[in-house]
Structure formats: C-alpha cells, structure tokens
C-alpha cells in the first residue's frame, strides 16, 4: 500500500498530546476570523428574526428541510473522508490519501449539486434575495458559505493533483498543506452545521 512516498511527518503528535494545531498557524487565524464573521451573521439574523417572527416562519416553511438534511449529510461525509485523507498522508499511504481526497470531493459534489437544485427551485418559484429579509439572509449567508465551499473544492483538487506526483518538492510541507486544507474544509462543514438549523429548522 505504501508506495515509497514517505509522507510520514516528524511533526504531528498524537491527538491527545499535541499542543500545536494541525496545519499552518496562518490558516487558523483565517478560520478564526471567518467563524467570527459568521457569528456576526447569526447574531444579525437572530436579532431580525426576533422582530419579524411571522415573516421568518412563513418564509422558512418555503425551504425544504429534506434538501437541507441532504446537504448536511454530504458535508459531514466529505469532512469524514478528509479525516481519512489526513491520516493516510501522515502514515505515507499515498493510494489511500488519493482515494480519500477523491471521496471527499465526490461527497462535496453532492452538496454542490443539491444546493444548485435548491437555488434553481427557489428562483423558478419567483423567490430571490429581494423577496423579503429572510430570503435576503438566506441567499447572502448560504451564498457566502457556497463560495467558501467552492474554494475548498479547488483546494482539495490541488491537494489531489499534488499527491499524484511521485516527487513532491517537500514532503513535510505537503503534509502541512493537507492538514491546512482539511481544517479549512472542516470549517466549511462546521459553519453549515449552524446555518442548517437556523434557516431550515427553527420553527415558531
């Protein structure tokens, strides 16, 4: 299984004992800034909702919680495969690494497709971000999240492409990229985990 691509890192300690986060420190600064931005989004939405409960509830009922559930399953599964990719990279199993990256992208593609279907259903029904304040938040928040998602898919594609090469420029550096990409990908998942209940499930 191991093909001589010695990705085995000297740096990652066991999960329980490590004191440094997985991946690059700069990525963690970015992730922290990003979750704070979404924290602000959640606060604004909650504040507006508390003053327009009927409107928000009527609008929420126009969303399909089944599609929201499907989106969540796709992202959680993709995130889990990314955990597999990081472990494979650390143990130098290149085939497993490429397989897990492919599976993470495949599950991510499910999210991409279901979200596009959902957006097109809304637009066909005449619902846009101009419909009311709920849908303004819905399109802006999920749109920004979708942009994060697309960037993540590109990152996974780059990692897969780099992983295919037999001679990586610097192996510990490649592992750092895999870990950093994984942390970013988990952040995309994590943000959706609060967007889903806030937009689709919070009933009056």
């Amino acid at each position: 299984m191991a093909q001589g691509l010695s990705l085995v890192s000297q740096r990652p300690a066991a999960k329980a004992t490590r004191t440094e986060p997985a991946g690059d420190g700069g990525v963690w600064v970015f992730i922290t800034a990003d979750i704070c931005m979404f924290g602000l989004f959640f606060t604004i939405f909650t504040w507006d909702r508390s003053h327009n409960i009927s409107l928000f509830e009527q609008s929420r009922r126009l969303l399909d919680p089944n599609i929201g559930l499907l989106n969540t399953i796709f992202l959680l599964t993709s995130s889990w495969f990314m955990v597999g990719a990081v472990h494979a990279a650390r143990s130098g199993r290149r085939r497993a690494l490429l397989a897990f990256l492919s599976l993470a992208m495949l599950a991510g593609s499910g999210f991409a497709v279901s979200k596009i279907i959902e957006y097109s259903h809304k637009l066909q029904a005449g619902i846009s971000m101009l419909t009311n304040s709920f849908f303004m938040y819905y399109f802006i928040f999920t749109g920004i999240h979708y942009l994060h998602f697309l960037i993540g898919m590109v990152v996974l594609g780059i990692l897969w492409s780099m992983g295919r090469r037999s001679n990586l420029p610097s192996e510990p550096r490649y592992l750092l990229w895999v870990e950093s990409g994984a942390c970013y990908w988990h952040m995309v998942d994590l943000l959706w985990l609060m967007l889903f209940p806030l937009l689709y499930l919070l009933r009056q």
Binding site: K15, R49, L76
Partner: protein
C-alpha cells in the same frame, strides 16, 4: 487496506449523522415549538464541538485555539437561544 475504506473517527461521523436526523425529525415533531427549537440549536452546538474536537483535532492542550472555539460556540448558542426566546416572549 481496512483504513482505505473506513477512515478513523467513524463513530463520530455516525453520531453526527444520527443527531442530524434527530434534529431534522424534531422540526416536524409534536413537541412544543420552543422546546424543539431549543433542542435543535443545542444539538447543532454539540455537533460543532464534535467537529472541532475530533475532526479538526483541537484537543484540550491545543491553546489558544481550543478556548477560542469553545467561547465562540458558547456565545453563538447563547445569542441564538436568547434571540429566539426574546422573540417568543
């Protein structure tokens, strides 16, 4: 070979899927809306903690990041629940 098809943290992934289904089911349950909504937000916070502790590997000793994420999810949960209950008072 086993790890090729079965990544680590499978139990966490199964738990995440299970509680996701639970929160989805709660939305149309016969529970009082306020109770269901509160449960749904608390479940979301629980899921987010599982992701950053197990998938992002933020163990207790990974500071200050673990503390930042704990504070973040605590504040977000509090704000959403307070806003929800304030709106329904």
């Amino acid at each position: 070979m086993r790890n090729l098809i079965w990544p680590p943290e499978a139990l966490i992934w199964i738990t995440l899927l299970g509680v996701t289904l639970l929160s989805w089911a709660l939305t149309e349950s016969t529970l009082a809306p306020q109770v269901a909504a509160t449960a749904v937000i608390l479940i979301a916070a629980f899921k987010i903690r599982l992701v950053f502790v197990h998938f992002m590997e933020l163990g207790r000793s990974v500071q200050p990041w673990r503390r930042i994420f704990e504070v973040w999810i605590g504040l977000v949960t509090l704000v959403i629940l307070l806003g929800y209950w304030f709106g329904h008072r």
